[in-house]
């Protein structure tokens, strides 16, 4: 598979993590694409932390509503059965354990499930927005990201070096190279992307990966 095909595989693979009725918050970027890759028959309820449930597809041209935008600021829609609320309720939903899963990007993840995603000191400091609450509050935290940085730098580490978004909260890491489960014994490479070998994934990973055939703890 080329890079594009592997990114597509990633998105589809994340989409398989849900069952109908799950309340899911998708981060900006790769995670957003998961909404369009759900298996047939699976219907999830998307939450947008700026204040509504039932995120629908982007509106048709000419049907944009400036009051209905997603957490990335893009025009969106609300599906029938959806509802809007203020930020206090939105984060009560998030922090209170009412979100079944969140899918977020990352700068670094490590073998303890620590996540760094919100700043590179002295370089870019966009802020954490709602990410810290999402990672602490969602029942499952799924990281969806490219396995390596654009410059080839490693992102799945023994220990994060950047400021954390949250400690020990990540459950699953899905990259263009495979699916990694965070276990008490470390990172278990649960699935390998088509065409790759365990050794190839390990070579791009600082943390020591546990082989897929080992039983998870």
């Amino acid at each position: 598979m080329d890079k594009e095909a592997r990114m597509e595989w990633l998105v589809k693979r994340v989409a398989q993590e849900f069952k109908t009725g799950d309340v899911v918050n998708l981060g900006i970027g790769i995670p957003t694409k998961v909404a369009n890759a759900l298996p047939d028959g699976i219907k999830i309820i998307l939450q947008s932390e700026n204040g509504y449930l039932g995120v629908g597809p982007a509106p048709e041209a000419g049907r944009e509503d400036s009051d209905t935008v997603n957490a990335g600021g893009q025009y969106a829609t609300i599906l029938p059965g959806g509802c809007s609320f203020d930020s206090a309720t939105s984060f009560a939903i998030i922090r209170g354990g009412h979100v079944d899963a969140t899918v977020l990007g990352a700068l670094q993840v490590d073998e303890e499930g620590n996540l760094a995603s919100w700043m590179i000191p002295g370089k870019i400091v966009p802020g954490m927005g709602g990410a810290m609450d999402l990672v602490v509050g969602a029942r499952r935290v799924i990281i969806a990201m490219e396995h390596c940085a654009k410059n080839g730098g490693l992102k799945v580490l023994k220990k994060c070096t950047l400021p954390l978004t949250a400690a020990k909260q990540v459950n699953l890491i899905v990259t263009d190279m495979g699916v990694i489960e965070v276990t008490l014994n470390g990172l278990r490479l649960k699935e390998i992307a088509p065409g790759l070998t365990f050794e190839e994934v390990q070579a791009c990973t600082e943390a020591i990966l546990i082989k897929p055939d080992k039983v998870a703890v």
Partner: protein, 224 residues
């Protein structure tokens, strides 16, 4: 007993050095015309509490661009590069706060609480300087109330005594901020007579709101 006043008069109540809260989320539900007037009246040395500083070019971003703000408390500044630039040069003091924490801090102030315990930020630099409390083995940060001299809000509808109704995702921080400032000014699309809003439809009770400013329809909001 109407609370409707003019734009210029409303904003003239904001003095240099005040702390202001501004509703909105990347521009959506932000009181754009109130913010433009803050810039026009060249209010300076403000402490700004808001989710973000808008998108470069919008009314919110202009508060930063025109140096009205000397201190910022926000959750995300990535959509307005000028904020990051002023932060790195030291022109602007920036404190970044998790979004769910900021909204609870504002709510605490409005609700007369001394603060709340949140698990958010544990194990991160957000912990710094804060009291940590352990309950049943779980760690929490004690986050303190945040209030302001003035709150600037945006609403879809108001009656003349100040009951507010918001629309869709434009609600966001507006109702919470309405509770936590000494003076609350709302920019409103539609002002109706007293009694025209059903009691159950009200999202911000009138008693929180001091002044209402009619939004001028310069841009068409498509309700499609």
């Amino acid at each position: 007993m109407t609370k409707v006043i003019g734009l210029e008069e409303a904003i003239s109540k904001i003095k240099n050095g005040m702390t202001i809260m501004v509703g909105g989320f990347i521009g959506c539900g932000a009181p754009s015309q109130l913010l433009e007037e803050v810039c026009r009246q060249e209010v300076k040395e403000l402490t700004l509490i808001a989710n973000d500083t808008g998108i470069l070019g919008d009314a919110m971003s202009q508060l930063i661009v025109q140096h009205c703000v000397s201190k910022l408390i926000a959750t995300h500044i990535g959509t307005n590069k000028e904020t990051g630039r002023q932060m790195s040069t030291g022109e602007l003091e920036v404190k970044l706060v998790p979004q769910g924490t900021l909204v609870e801090q504002i709510r605490s102030a409005g609700a007369g609480l001394g603060g709340i315990l949140t698990p958010t930020g544990i194990g991160t630099i957000v912990e710094e300087g804060k009291q940590k409390i352990v309950l049943n083995g779980a760690e929490y940060l004690l986050e303190l109330p945040v209030r302001a001299n003035v709150a600037l809000l945006n609403a879809y509808k108001a009656d003349k005594v100040g009951n507010l109704v918001y629309r869709r995702a434009a609600r966001n921080f507006n109702p919470v901020m309405a509770m936590a400032a000494d003076l609350v000014i709302a920019q409103v699309d539609n002002i109706v007579e007293i009694g025209e809003i059903d009691p159950d439809e009200v999202m911000t009770p009138s008693i929180f709101v001091d002044y209402i400013v009619q939004k001028q329809s310069q841009e068409v909001t498509d309700l499609g």
